[in-house]
Symmetry: C2
Subunit: 539 residues, 2 copies
Amino acid sequence: MTMLRDWQQRCARKRAARDDLIPKSWLVPELMKSQSSNLLEVPTTCGVLTEQEIRITTDYDAVGIVAAIRDTTFTAEEVTTAFCKRAAIAQQLTNCLTEIFFDEAIECARSLDKQRKANPEKQLGPFHGLPISLKDSFKLKGKDATIGLVCFVGAPAEENSALVDLLQSLGAVLYCKTNVPQTMMTADSENNIFGRTLNPNNIRLTAGGSTGGEGALIVLRGSILGVGTDVAGSIRIPSSCNGIYGFKPTSDIVPYSGQQNDVVDGIVGIPPSAGPMATSIRSCQFFMETIMKARPSVFDCSVTKVPWLDLKPPRVENLRIGVIADDTLHTPTPPLHRALREAVQKLVAAGVTIVPIQLTDVQSNMHLIWDLFSIDGSAHLRSLLDSTKEPLVESVRRIGLTTTPGKSIEEYFQINHARSISSKKFNGMWKEYSLDAMLCLPAPHTATPFDDWTVITYTSLFNLFDCPAVIIPVGKVEDIDLLDEAARYGENDQRVYDLYSGPELYRDTPTTLQLIGQRHEDEKLAGVSVTVDGILNGR
Amino acid sequence: MTMLRDWQQRCARKRAARDDLIPKSWLVPELMKSQSSNLLEVPTTCGVLTEQEIRITTDYDAVGIVAAIRDTTFTAEEVTTAFCKRAAIAQQLTNCLTEIFFDEAIECARSLDKQRKANPEKQLGPFHGLPISLKDSFKLKGKDATIGLVCFVGAPAEENSALVDLLQSLGAVLYCKTNVPQTMMTADSENNIFGRTLNPNNIRLTAGGSTGGEGALIVLRGSILGVGTDVAGSIRIPSSCNGIYGFKPTSDIVPYSGQQNDVVDGIVGIPPSAGPMATSIRSCQFFMETIMKARPSVFDCSVTKVPWLDLKPPRVENLRIGVIADDTLHTPTPPLHRALREAVQKLVAAGVTIVPIQLTDVQSNMHLIWDLFSIDGSAHLRSLLDSTKEPLVESVRRIGLTTTPGKSIEEYFQINHARSISSKKFNGMWKEYSLDAMLCLPAPHTATPFDDWTVITYTSLFNLFDCPAVIIPVGKVEDIDLLDEAARYGENDQRVYDLYSGPELYRDTPTTLQLIGQRHEDEKLAGVSVTVDGILNGR
């Protein structure tokens, strides 16, 4: 018998406590969990959900379900129960949840139903009865927010994150939190506490990170609207891996205050942002509109008061989209190369003006990003890890963040200055080409095998420039996505390019695109995204 | 014969070159410059201005003069010539100008008149023909921006500040830049190059700083609209000393990029902001509206895209104003104590709801501010000063900034964190008391004798919290403002309080108040200020 170390015991207890929160009647037969690499059909076939619960969780997006509660097709309790059950299924299939509070959620929904009955004239909150899942980094009073670090196990939050208060004030029902990587700095949602979240499209590939639990949960429709955070791609990478919509706003548009964090307080690097992940683009738009109209600065005084103006999106025939073919460092692999090419064809056919544009200074900008991520030499993070002696998981070990030296204050000023020069240059392109949006890939590849995702150029540049960006799923890897040998940018590119081994291993893996907007023009990007999604996905 | 040192020769040549730019026929008889401590009447009595030029420069504010050009009462050339002449008079009386480019300005105005004649149907720019003066820190291609440092003499700017391009695109006529303190960090606009700017209300007292040249120029109506910058009170202190309106916006609302600077590039301390100084509150509002509607982010990508929404200001009877009696460290001297008391009486009489509120943690917040101003230990500033061996002027020597040690990056994070906690606490007051604005003094005293202004609590706190703030002149020191002995907060308070020696020395010195708005609610503050100014000044 092996003796478990201290940290291992803490993790085992935490996991067991979580698992105990799933009622026996919601358990999925073991057999169904492993019958295929693609688990997307299991929730509707495993026998746990009633017909009505399948309808509720399958046939609606967040906008639709809010309307269905409003018009009394369903009660909030019915909806919440259905999503709790489907989230429990998703958890059993992919290990996507960290904190489970189904009972409280159902109680909350019941109370919303009651309040409505008692005051039928009172206007309903815009999220009345809508179940919303949250990345583990959001704090709820009395619940852990471990963010994959053992030191935070059994240290319940003393207050809510600002966004939690705001969501509840709007009638949302919170019911679970979702898994992240140890350190939240990799694209593999694995940590010593909960283990790894699997990608239900193809369990041999990563679910992405850091908001990987949301990605898996939402594509299985254990949630139709979740909230993630993104400082280098943490909303967009799991959205891309799982094939859902993910919207990274400009920083300080959606309340971010009160996150559980593994960096030192007061650190200033790349500005992070919180944003929606969902099963439809209009749900992302709905989330952004609702939050931006709800006086978020009252809940978080660091919010920038950019109002939602009910702008009309530009007409298709006036749309000008800049297309970025690649990041100048990594050649797109065949499935994504095809996805972008087909998208451009559809956009041109719809009358959109396409403007080829090229990123510049990518290498030096990536150095800036890395410098900004390692300003304090990860001293605080290392002390958190050391406090329990937990080891690094493989994906964290590979990126080497915890061994990068810190910066002096003089170096920090230089980095800042270089960043503002670079932002100015990038921002000049919007004016130079009169663009409404930029279109590019989220990465050179789809979801990769475990621990192999290291390229964050395509996502983190838009954190550096603080532009809103959205992931739009457009298809899946197809048999026609045959291997070629097209890596153009040298050895490192070849190594990344070779991750794609042809369609066999990548069967059913989603292909997605990324649409970029101008800083603070989140509303416009949401509008343009609805239009572009309509063109690309025939809606 | 004394040999001049190198730096002295450079300064003497620079001054002489500036003085040569004033035409002989615009010279004011020596006698008139020194007949009284109050020089406000000299421009209209010295014989330099024609009757029409007196009307143009005396009877209009910025809004009025733009309308008068628009309706062809005056040409742009007539208006520009009149303000160039009056600015030349102000310069001779108070030494308020640094760079003079009257010829170019008149040529520009003439060209605006011609363009209008050639295209009578074309819409005029919102600032068409409006002369706007600028703090010396704004860069104009080909002109010096010495900001009071000898090392920058003879180093013409290679490009315009972002705001300069924006103002010119809106039809403004730029004609002069105005004096600042060496280092721009004191309330005495004195430096080794140009010497000291005098306060034309009372030449024995400081004109304030750092935008002191604007203060003197505008109260003499050598300008009716100027642009300053403010990181601790640099718009508000000289507005207060001279008795004009000055509006410090939230940072990054008015383009700030491309300032001449004496701090190292990329430094992040207190966020500075650029804003208007004018002869009327509606001119400040007009400036803010015009800039915010002119897509300023196209000129400066760091601008926050908060739009101007044409909000209706709250009705007087719904207005709730929090009154801050003092900064909890410095007792208001009799003239300002009276000014605030009378203002509150008038507001109450008008139906405004007054809510007494108290600042907290002022001492520790002032430590934060000082830490943020000395992050790099002023190393860059010292190297600029050392490069020419110019000595410190008295006011700079007194504040001791250049001898404060720098901070480590860890200390910087701590400061940042403390600041965000403090901002959250301050911001909570807006919600707690449902306030539309806060009313307080700009300092415990009016303009002081030279080099004696050291208290920046009343102004810099609102830089720390990044709130917009406006100075409203309400009167002058009166014979009834007799000395008392009311200093309440100990020795340092007594020392500051004793600067006020009774009405004799302070004759004609303006009394002003400060109105504070919420971060990013610059439009609302402008609207509320128009209402409050109407009540206080019977407009």
